[in-house]
Amino acid sequence: MSQPATPPIIEDPFTLYFWEGTKAGQLLIMRCQSCGYWVHLPKPVCRNCQSMDLKPEPVSGKGTVYSFTETHKAFHPYFVDKVPYLIAVIELAEQPHLHFQSNLVGITEPDVRFGMPVQLEFAAFGDKTIPVFRPVATTADRTVA
């Protein structure tokens, strides 16, 4: 049986940068070129200084888990064989409260901790690539292992 189609992703010129970034192995976030404030989700104006000079810039891919939830019900055919899966809000290292919504991979729900350090990687999504996050192996983890 063929894989159900991915949910529709609107292609518009204002979010094209994001997909070009993931194709090149980068997570690009809009950044104000006037004051340096990172703006996500993308907007045409910086809410810190009102400049309209924003450009996508790569982030380090380092972050921590701000919140997470394990989805048990599929709300779209594409995800029927993927439940349960982890949706997480990652606080990116570049700026306090710079939150990026993604998936957590390489870990099961009971092991996730608030504030846990995570690192960016990429996963396939139809013909696109999406940023996901994997817990960083810590010294403590290795001791347990």
């Binding site: 992703i9 995800f79 919504q101």
Partner: protein, 381 residues
């Protein structure tokens, strides 16, 4: 001449529901007409007395003409907003300012598709043309239950609440519903039954969610002077507030525990001489149960982080120190998007709640929404 800016005292004089139920097969117009007629009859008003309409759901102008209201002096359609508080707040303001004398506020909503239908591809939640969905759909985020799971989990992390407290909350709400003929869910519930229900978006269970249905709700606002001559004891709008702090992407809120209800509550109390300790009954939005918990804390009714233990001690039940959601909440009366909390607050203040009546109720607060935006209204006898 300048626009009218009177400062008239505003009363709620009529409340009504449509025949609320699961997949009723009726249209928004049917539910609006049923609710409007119920509210008019409750107030002892006729359609020709109404000169203003506000609504979320359907269309205010369409409803006004359909009902045979007089030529409207004021109308408002609200879109995505903190639910029923949006048309209710603005309706009260219109009366206070003298832009209209008798305004009906509506919330009409039709049942959304089931998760089984969504999983089969027969429907989709949200609007796929919204550019922000680019940052949601690829991660499997489609449903409000998913941001609610994120908010609830963070709330559990930062507060003293536990999933067992959420179970006790569901049980206490159901106890109220058993005393309410308007409730759709009226079978007794135990904590264990709650804990045995599967997660939707862990830690959120289906019994943490309001109950999908078709509903129409209508509330009539008019002047104090007019209210004195009508059928019901007048209930007065003492204070009200709206607040928004963020766009509609709940998932990237900077703080998922202290959201719009915090600033909204500060505004509400700044506009009145009343204090949180004066509140007899609280009617706090439970689209997801964590929202009620956050309102209890935001309004200063319980200390920060203590809503779960407060509920677990029985304070929100009949006979408790602060009865909460005395109609059973939307988890039991069905999704009326905040209108049920306004209507139940009015009924408590009138003293017409029968077995679930809170004796001596004279100040009631009702509150709507969470996260990006919120609204609240303080009512008195």
């Amino acid at each position: 001449m300048a626009i009218t800016t009177k400062n008239r005292r505003v009363a709620i004089v009529g409340v009504g529901y449509s025949k609320v139920g699961r997949n009723t097969g009726l249209t928004e117009r049917h539910h609006a007409a049923q609710a409007a007629n119920a509210a008019l009859a409750d107030a002892g008003l006729t359609a020709k007395d109404v000169d203003g309409v506000g609504s979320w759901g359907g269309d205010a102008v369409d409803f006004g003409y359909m009902m045979g209201f007089q030529e409207l002096r004021w109308e408002l359609n609200v879109g995505v907003s903190p639910a029923f508080i949006a048309p209710a707040y603005h309706a009260a303001q219109a009366v206070a300012a003298g832009h209209a004398d008798c305004v009906m506020a509506f919330r009409i909503m039709m049942q959304q598709p089931s998760s089984a239908k969504l999983a089969a591809g027969g429907a989709m939640l949200g609007a796929p043309n919204m550019e922000d969905t680019v940052f949601q759909y690829p991660y499997g985020n489609f449903s409000p239950t998913q941001w609610a799971g994120l908010l609830m989990n963070r709330y559990l992390h930062e507060s003293d609440s536990t999933e067992e407290h959420f179970a006790k909350f569901a049980v206490s709400q159901r106890e109220w519903a058993l005393l309410n003929d308007d409730a759709l869910q009226r079978t007794p519930l135990t904590e264990q039954q709650f804990l045995d229900t599967p997660y939707i978006t862990k830690p959120l269970r289906i019994l943490d969610c309001d109950y999908p249905c078709d509903s129409g709700s209508a509330v009539i606002f008019t002047t104090e002077e007019r209210a004195r001559d009508l059928r019901q004891p007048a209930v007065f709008v003492d204070s009200s507030a709206l607040c928004s702090i963020h766009d509609m992407n709940f998932e990237v809120l900077p703080d998922m525990v202290r959201t719009a209800p915090v600033k909204c509550s500060n505004e509400l109390w700044a506009r009145t001489d009343l204090k949180p300790t004066d509140v007899s009954t609280a009617h706090l939005y439970d689209g997801f149960s964590v929202i009620t918990m956050q309102w209890l804390e935001a309004l200063g009714l319980v200390p920060p982080g203590q809503a779960g233990p407060f509920i677990a001690e029985g304070n929100t039940r009949l006979g408790g120190s602060l009865p909460v959601n005395t109609d059973g909440g939307a988890i039991n009366v069905g999704r009326r998007h905040g209108a049920n909390f306004c209507i139940e607050a009015v009924r408590q203040l009138r003293g017409e709640c029968g077995e679930r009546q809170v004796q001596g109720a004279d100040v009631s607060v009702w509150a709507n929404a969470v996260g990006p935006f919120a609204g609240a209204m303080l009512l008195t006898k």
